[in-house]
């Protein structure tokens, strides 16, 4: 079973988490151009290989966790950035 390394709870089953995907900062609606807003709404990286992304430990400590996951093997490791 796929596991996610939670910095507070240790490695836990992925079913305890909710996937939030790669970090996508929300542009300021007051200053963002239409193109910036469009990219924020619709375009997400979809890489083949390692990706740094956020998971939410919904059935555990209920904190957000930053993880590096290989999208082909689903092997996960701690992100350098650690918990955010």
């Amino acid at each position: 079973m796929m596991q996610i390394p939670c910095p507070w709870c240790g490695p836990r089953n992925a079913t305890e988490f909710r996937h939030h995907g790669p970090h996508a900062p929300r542009p300021d609606p007051a200053t963002a151009s239409a193109e910036e807003w469009r990219r924020y709404l619709y375009l997400r990286p979809n890489p083949y290989g390692p990706v740094e992304e956020t998971w939410y430990h919904a059935a555990g400590c209920r904190r957000f966790v930053s993880v590096i996951r290989d999208t082909f093997t689903n092997a996960t490791q701690w992100s350098e950035g650690g918990p955010r």
């Binding site: 079973m1 709404l41 979809n46």
Partner: protein, 444 residues
């Protein structure tokens, strides 16, 4: 609407650029399949002729189609048969129909939510109805009826909405109550003593299941018979773009010079589009399915429950085919998981408690390219000569014929025909999305 295949009288298309070069072979001669030939083969013990053969990768093609699944092969077939395009290559990094075309749960229906979607999928259903005759290949289409269950008021409201939209587009679709459901599916628990009681269902009689491999092989055989080169084990490593136009494709078996490239991949569509410098609002997630051991026929409709994330049908062989919604995270892995089987079994038993002793035979997984509005992305792109037929999420197989037909027209005329005009990549700039989540998220 339906044009005659131009090949029958040995004609070619009217556009000079697409005309066949004289003296070029017309592809593999294709013996007609019929009951008479079956009997005569039985007496003579002769082998059937091969329906497609290996070619060398030629340095030039008019159209290069990336992805040898249903969409790629259908596009190749309609280009060759209805538009007279001769030099077509279909490239696949694996084998024909080894991706989504061979991994889906083979459900065909047209009871969608938006008028654009209903029109589009209904054209596909009509093409499926005549496909066996058109391709001279038995695709085993069984229009056994399709039930989408509602377990709560919100679900029932969506079913009514879909039924009304369907009727305005001439699609046979209606909401029925639990008693009528019980008559159609006696094995289903329609009582109000379950965890998720069934309040009603959207009944869609023309929906059904089909043999998905046969559809792929039928299109491949017909395309090969028209001279299309089918290159298996040929991976695309790059797409050459100069001054905003496609000039060629690099593959593991040599470089091809071409002015037209069609991305018909699923799972890999963002990676292929990136090679041409086109960004796609697509993320890839696996969808898992499973099949049981064969039992006597007892289920002659397709049953779908959006709330329970499950759909069930029984194949002609007697196996029950189960599918679910996409896994809740993006991934390119097609490895199955235990939590999927556990969740699936528990949900199936809520619908049909009598199946508790059935054994699962196997489970598998395929890649789904999800778009923000649960509609596909079809048509031209900002790069000249680069067309996409991608973002098919969980609804690609049922749309294969119409996507091929429309793509072929789009490629020859270089503009989107009306039936796919609403599904262009530019809708993510204009904001005119075609929201199909209410009809496509789980209900297949």
């Amino acid at each position: 609407m339906k044009k005659r295949p131009v090949v029958k009288k040995g004609q070619t298309g009217d556009s000079g650029a697409w005309r066949a070069s004289p003296g070029r072979s017309r592809g593999t001669p294709r013996p007609r399949y019929s009951a008479l030939r079956l009997v005569s083969k039985g007496f003579t013990q002769g082998d059937w002729a091969k329906v497609w053969r290996q070619h060398d990768v030629e340095p030039r093609y008019d159209v290069v189609i990336i992805g040898g699944g249903l969409h790629g092969l259908a596009t190749a077939y309609y280009l060759a048969a209805y538009h007279g395009v001769r030099k077509i290559a279909v490239l696949d990094k694996g084998y024909l129909g080894g991706g989504g075309s061979g991994r889906n749960t083979a459900i065909v229906r047209s009871n969608y939510l938006t008028p654009e979607g209903v029109r589009f999928y209904d054209r596909s259903l009509k093409l499926y109805e005549n496909l066996a005759g058109e391709l001279n290949f038995n695709v085993m289409f069984s229009q056994r009826g399709h039930l989408t269950l509602a377990h709560n008021d919100g679900g029932l409201r969506t079913m009514r909405w879909r039924a009304e939209v369907n009727k305005t587009q001439g699609v046979d679709s209606e909401v029925i109550d639990p008693d009528e459901i019980k008559k159609l599916v006696p094995s289903m628990d329609t009582s109000d003593r379950t965890r998720y009681p069934i309040l009603g269902a959207l009944y869609h009689p023309p929906g059904g299941i089909i043999r998905h491999d046969a559809v792929v092989w039928g299109y491949a055989r017909a395309a090969a018979g028209l001279g299309v080169h089918l290159h298996q084990d040929t991976e695309v490593t790059g797409i050459d773009v100069h001054h905003g136009r496609v000039t060629g494709v690099r593959t593991t078996r040599g470089n091809i010079s071409t002015a037209t490239v069609v991305n018909c991949t699923a799972g890999w569509s963002t990676l292929i589009s990136e090679m041409a410098g086109v960004e796609m609002p697509v993320t890839t997630s696996p969808l898992q399915a499973a099949v049981t051991e064969p039992v006597k026929p007892f289920l002659d409709t397709v049953v779908v429950s959006g709330s329970l994330h499950v759909y069930v049908s029984q194949t002609d062989r007697g196996e029950l085919v189960f599918g679910a919604s996409v896994d809740p995270f993006t991934s390119y892995s097609v490895r199955g998981s235990l939590e999927f089987v556990e969740g699936l079994a528990s949900n199936v038993l809520k619908l049909m408690p009598g199946l508790s002793k059935m054994r699962l035979l196997r489970q598998w997984s395929g890649l789904c390219d999800m778009t923000p509005d649960y509609s596909p992305i079809i048509g031209p792109t900002p790069v000249g000569g680069f067309f996409v037929d991608v973002g098919w999420g969980t609804y690609g197989f049922k749309a294969g014929p119409v996507a091929g037909e429309a793509m072929a027209e789009c490629i020859v005329s270089d503009r989107s025909p009306e039936i796919i005009a609403d599904f262009g990549l530019d809708r993510f700039r204009s904001g005119r999305l075609v929201g199909e989540k209410g009809a496509a998220a789980v209900g297949h």
